[in-house]
């Protein structure tokens, strides 16, 4: 079966349990089991090739640009691990079916489990380190889900997060390491990397790569000082623990070290880092395990210890040690999985995992007792079980290792660790199963159904069989796997026999076993000492670190983003000004090339007015109304200035926009406080003045510098001047640019205006739909109001003004193409003509007479502009291509037509509609019942004459 399929099967199969859970728990678990079984089958199909020493590969170019390809290969090591993962996975699936209770969402469980399984298989089959990284991180993620499976347990959640944080961050470090590695070799393919030992070890980046990769491996394999996550992951359901911590997740780190062994091992750095870490971990795990009362915690620390052991072996860097490591990996998987399952059974039956509350179970649960005992003894290294075999070999390897010229250190520590290891193994048997039967178990224990003990029983059988017939059963496997580890070189001499004769290892074993028995006998005393010892609690430290990280993050985040607009703006301004200054000073500046225009008296007067008004505006800004009056002054002077400086179109636009803006601001100000309180400190004001001053200087200096220099190149507007009449049919170049050369800008601009009106309308609707409406209805004006809301004079004058203003608008509109003016200004004038009606005669009176909806006007304006533009398509010309010509209707004189007029009409309509919709919406805030009048004028003497006449008639 293709390696792709093997790697993909668990992922594909992960869908089924979740779906099939509706068909029942059996169907769900069966689908998971079937998937795993298929994958295992696929693996076994490849077994002959592997045992022949071949390497099965499958390649698929996924991301050749990056060198990330879906390349898989299967060699001995991969086969060993994949077999373990799938095989034990199958057992776990069986076990979990019976372990999980009715309340647990089993579909989810199997889905997660298969995801995890797939990720693990992926790791061990990857032939591309980037692909491996993907699977690596996937195991972190899926284990996060598995550990947190019991969402209601705080321990589960925290354990999951801790596992994710630790292993995930290790994975991140490994990314860097792998990238460096790939960079050294020039390929991310493992097969290539594995052949470049010299290149890698000679590279200056060897150390960083090594450390980063090892961080990944150590975190995953729970090596000191990253070991603390593992016991906390025990909050997961026992099948998860059994799977993750015997055969899979934690072995991933070991796998990686084994995988990279040919290129990374063999240096001093490797030895001292890896072996030492392993040694420490082994000892530490073993000691702590002895004093854990939680069954699973005991097993967890034992796992840590054994992982340390294997790490140490790999760290030795000798071929023999590597073989032992491989062998122990197999053995540990078998007995540890069985042990976890047995612990699960105990927990499941007695409802407790606390060793202090257990004891004497051998009578009540004989099957479990046998399973647990055999597995434990194997763990303790008692012959003839498989644990003994590998332990002996390990001791042998340790004896031949010198650490910093000291030949005794390693064996000594290993001996102590072995002693403790044996002790906790015995404790597992003695304190749980032996001893008197108690009557205070939380539940009534008995052996579970066969479904539950079948899996551990199978494993225990293996434990025994491997112990007895090691060479026959696992010999070839160890051989091919070790061969892969040591990189295809010749295997060292080793023998998988029980009896190696009396040698140092055996003596050490004996010492350890005897010592363990003594230790166990004095357990109570030691325990008291242990409990009295102050020791750093990893979880507390971790929580504190994460808590500190979170708190700091919060402080930074909230401190930085304190939602103070003033500060945001200040940062903005300062940053922009300083970077612009940087840009300026790092460039070279030429001398001014232009001579300025001499300023007459009038410009100076205008300047004084502008400056004065601006300063007043700042000084008086607390009185909002006055600041608006001053805005009016500023706008007026700017408009005159535009006119003075040869920009009549701008002057017209500026002044009409000004009027509308003022009306808008006044409308809004009506509902807002009329004063801005003095609330900033003097320092802050000073700071603001400085910032403002610098930015003003910067902008002023910039424009001065620009104006005093000529364009470096001829400007494109020369073309516009030359072609405005010829090509655009108009003499007002600004207008021709607006409606023709750059009509697309104008198209966007009217859309902006239209959207603005829509937004205002939508917002009005939204706000008036809330309690604001009630507030507004009951709102008392905050200033005294005069009588006579709609004075007669005003009404009459606006009535006369309106047609005239529309006439002017029409005039401005039609002349726009040739003289200053155009649709936009015309639109504003027309809008103001209507606004005058609203202001003079009242909202309701004017609105009543408004027959066309403003939405429609805006929409039609935009559409007319667009359709005019699209009309060009009929001619086969691009959007907005204009055309013009001359019509002669006798007796009239010739006059011009231009499609740009149509466009300008669109502009006109959009502007009228937008301005009116905006102002009308704003005015609606002021609506109150009773203010509407059927008359335009509040006072109209003509009216009461009519009334009296009517009365007379009556």
């Amino acid at each position: 079966m293709s390696l792709f399929l093997i790697a993909a099967l668990p992922f594909l199969g992960a869908v089924f349990p979740a779906l099939l859970i509706r068909a029942g728990r059996n169907a769900s678990s069966a689908s998971a089991g079937a998937t795993t079984f298929l994958a295992l089958l696929g693996l076994l199909v490849n077994a002959p090739a592997v045992f022949r020493g071949e390497v099965v590969t499958a390649r698929f170019d996924w991301l050749p640009g990056l060198g990330l390809n879906a390349n898989f290969y299967l060699d001995g090591l991969g086969f060993l691990f994949a077999g373990m993962i799938l095989g034990i996975g199958l057992l776990i699936i069986l076990y979990a079916r019976f372990y999980l209770s009715r309340e647990d969402p089993m579909g989810q469980f199997y889905t997660y489990l298969l995801l995890f399984q797939g990720a693990m298989v992926g790791i061990v089959l990857s032939d591309n380190i980037l692909l491996l990284l993907i699977f690596w991180e996937l195991t972190s993620l899926s284990s996060f889900l598995l550990i947190g499976y019991w969402k209601h347990l705080p321990a589960g959640r925290q354990g999951a997060r801790m596992a994710l944080a630790v292993t995930g961050s290790g994975g991140l470090a490994m990314i860097a390491g792998m990238l460096i590695l790939g960079n050294i070799v020039g390929s991310y393919d493992l097969t290539v990397i594995l052949q470049n030992k010299e290149l890698i070890q000679a590279s200056p980046y060897y150390m960083p790569a090594l450390i980063l990769i090892l961080i990944g491996a150590f975190t995953k394999s729970a090596q000191f000082p990253f070991h603390f996550w593992l016991p906390h992951a025990m909050a997961a359901p026992t099948p998860v623990s059994a799977y993750l911590h015997s055969a899979t997740m934690v072995k991933a780190g070991l796998f990686l070290m084994a995988r990279m062994w040919p290129v990374l091992a063999g240096t001093d750095a490797w030895f001292y880092i890896v072996a030492t870490t392993g040694l420490i971990t082994m000892l530490l795990g073993a000691v702590i395990a002895l004093f854990k009362d939680d069954l699973k915690a005991l097993l967890a620390f034992s796992t840590v210890s054994h992982l340390g052991l294997i790490t140490m072996l790999l760290g030795f860097g000798t071929k023999f040690a590597a073989v032992v490591a491989v062998f122990h990996i197999i053995n540990h998987a078998t007995f540890k999985a069985a042990l976890f399952m047995s612990a699960g059974i105990v927990d499941h039956e007695t409802h407790t995992r606390d060793i202090k509350r257990l004891g004497g179970l051998r009578h009540l649960m004989p099957v479990t007792f046998i399973i647990a005992t055999v597995a434990s003894l194997s763990m303790a290294g008692i012959p003839p079980l498989n644990g003994f075999l590998s332990k002996e070999m390990m001791l042998d390897a340790a004896v031949h290792t010198t650490w910093l010229n000291s030949p005794y250190l390693v064996p000594g520590v290993v001996l102590i660790a072995a002693l403790f290891s044996a002790a906790y193994s015995f404790r597992y048997i003695a304190h749980v199963f032996l001893g008197p039967v108690r009557d205070d178990y939380p539940a009534k224990p008995h052996d579970p159904g066969v479904g539950m003990w079948l899996a551990p029983a199978f494993l225990v059988t293996l434990v025994v069989l491997i112990g007895l017939f090691s060479s026959a059963i696992v010999g070839p496997l160890v051989a091919v796997a070790s061969g892969a580890v040591i990189g295809g070189e010749k295997l060292p001499y080793y023998s998988l026999k029980i009896w190696h004769g009396f040698n140092a290892a055996l003596y050490m074993s004996i010492v350890a076993t005897i010592g363990a028995v003594i230790l166990l006998a004095m357990h109570g005393r030691f325990e008291r000492v242990w409990n009295a010892l102050p020791r750093p609690e990893a979880k507390v430290i971790f929580d504190a670190v994460i808590g500190c990280l979170t708190a700091t993050s919060r402080k930074i985040t909230e401190g930085l983003h304190n939602r103070s607009m003033a500060r945001y703006s200040a940062i903005f301004v300062v940053f922009v000004v300083s970077l612009a200054g940087y840009g300026y000073y790092t460039g070279t500046d030429s001398v001014p090339t232009r001579i300025g225009i001499e300023a007459g008296v009038m410009p100076i007067i205008g300047w004084i007015c502008l400056m004065g008004a601006t300063i007043c505006l700042v000084v008086f800004h607390h009185n909002r109304f006055v600041s608006l009056v001053l805005v009016g002054v500023v706008g007026l002077i700017i408009s005159i200035g535009f006119n003075y400086l040869s920009a009549p179109d701008l002057a017209l636009t500026q002044i009409s926009v000004e009027v509308v803006t003022i009306i808008l601001l006044l409308l809004a100000l009506n509902f807002m406080p009329k004063e801005t309180p003095w609330e900033t400190t003097n320092e802050r004001r000073f700071r603001d003045v400085i910032i403002a001053g610098i930015s003003g200087l910067g902008v002023g200096g910039l424009i001065y510098a620009l104006m005093m220099r000529d364009f470096a190149f001829p400007t494109i507007s020369e073309f516009h001047l030359a072609n405005s009449y010829k090509g655009g049919g108009g003499t007002n170049v600004v207008n021709v640019i607006l409606v023709d050369f750059r009509g697309f800008d104008t198209f966007g601009e009217i859309i902006v205006l239209g959207i603005a009106a829509l937004v205002i309308y939508a917002l009005t609707e939204a706000v008036l739909g809330t309690r604001v409406r009630a507030y507004l209805l009951n709102r008392k004006p905050d200033m005294p109001q005069s009588g006579d809301a709609h004075p007669l004079m005003m009404v009459v004058v606006t009535r006369v003004m309106m047609p005239i203003a529309l006439m002017v608008a029409a005039y401005i509109f039609f002349r726009g193409h040739n003289l200053p003016g155009g649709g936009f200004i015309a639109g504003l004038i027309a809008a103001i003509a209507f606004i005058m009606q609203y202001m003079a005669s009242g909202f309701s009176w004017a609105a009543e007479r408004q027959k066309v909806f403003y939405h429609g006007i805006i929409g039609s304006g935009v559409l007319i502009a667009a359709i005019t533009g699209m009309g060009a398509w009929l001619n086969g010309k691009p959007f907005l291509t204009s055309d013009f010509g001359y019509i002669h209707w006798p007796p009239l004189e010739e006059f011009e037509w231009a499609t740009a007029m149509g466009f300008d009409l669109g502009v006109f309509l959009a502007v009228v509609g937008a301005v009116m919709l905006a102002l009308e919406s704003l005015s609606r805030f002021a609506w109150q019942p009773g203010i509407a009048s059927e008359h335009a004028m509040d006072i109209n003497p003509a009216r009461d004459d009519e009334d009296t006449e009517e009365k007379k008639e009556v």
Partner: protein, 114 residues
């Protein structure tokens, strides 16, 4: 003339920035309008200044014209900034009416720092 215009632009900018740094929405809006005046004049001035040379083609005489393009750009910019001002005024008003608070900073209640 150039100096007058440049200093006026600078003054408008400075005033605009100062008001922008106030803490209530209204002065900030006024500040933004001042800034948009400043930028409009700035943009206009990038075509260089010219007196009595409006870019309206004269059929009869060969007269100088000022650069029309910045004027067209400023027109667009004026319109756009008008639309923007209208929207911001409206949002500020609605915000004030909805929360009875016209502070532009939201730091008095960071929400989750309780």
């Amino acid at each position: 003339m150039e100096f007058l215009l440049a200093s006026a632009v600078g003054m408008l900018t400075a005033a605009g920035v100062y008001l922008l740094l106030r803490r209530r929405t209204f002065p900030v809006i006024v500040g933004i309008s001042l800034l948009s005046y400043a930028v409009n004049v700035f943009l206009f001035a990038t075509g260089r200044l010219a007196l009595n040379a409006p870019p309206v083609l004269n059929k009869y005489a060969d007269v100088p014209y000022t650069d029309p393009l910045p004027q067209a750009l400023v027109l667009t910019a004026i319109v756009i900034s008008f639309g923007m001002t209208a929207v911001v005024v409206m949002i500020a008003l609605s915000a004030y009416l909805s929360s009875q608070n016209d502070r532009i900073d939201m730091s008095e209640n960071t929400g989750d720092d309780v």
